[in-house]
Point group: C2
Chain length 108, copies 2
């Protein structure tokens, strides 16, 4: 179950990945789990949030653009990206962002 990521003080970076899936699992769930685990141990990884309801939105947080670039080039992640385009996604959009400011609320 995804939770709100415990990110540090800005600035840091976010990758917003919004997608629409094809029908059926086709090995997606297993690979998605593997990718979250693998991302979590990459240098510069700060956290991830994910929800799907019609569209899927996954936001991963990173220390730097360089850590995002390295993750994009991870060999196993490249396999997942290829399979994503061939099997899992009708369409997706990836947005690379600099988080400039954040604030939160917690019910007491």
């Amino acid at each position: 179950m995804s939770e709100i990521a415990r990110t540090p003080q800005p600035p840091y970076y976010a990758v917003i990945f919004t997608s629409e899936r094809t029908d059926g699992d086709n090995g997606y769930a297993e690979m998605a789990d593997e990718m979250v685990k693998l991302a979590s141990v990459q240098p510069g990884f700060l956290g991830v949030e994910s929800a799907r309801e019609g569209v899927g939105i996954t936001v991963s947080y990173w220390e730097s653009l360089d850590s995002i670039r390295q993750w994009k080039q991870n060999e196993r992640h490249l396999v997942a990206q290829r399979q994503g385009r061939s099997d899992w996604y009708l369409t997706y959009k990836t947005r690379i962002c600099k988080v400039e400011r954040d604030y939160g609320f917690e019910q007491v």
Copy 2:
């Protein structure tokens, strides 16, 4: 149903709003619909994507930091923000981001 937002070429801005809800609706769904409609006609609004599965993630896209500030100060939105803290959310985090780069995929 939320779709992938048709945003212009970067740079533009994103507000990532991640939340955990209280139990029950308590008027939430109606206000959420109203807020999406109202946001959509604000100056500088570019699009919105939303999904809830455990956490809720809503990403709205904007032309400028100023358009984000104006929306945050909208009177009806201020009412919704107050009710959010009193009734709807256990916790939330808002992150203001500059989208520096994006790319997409569409199955042919």
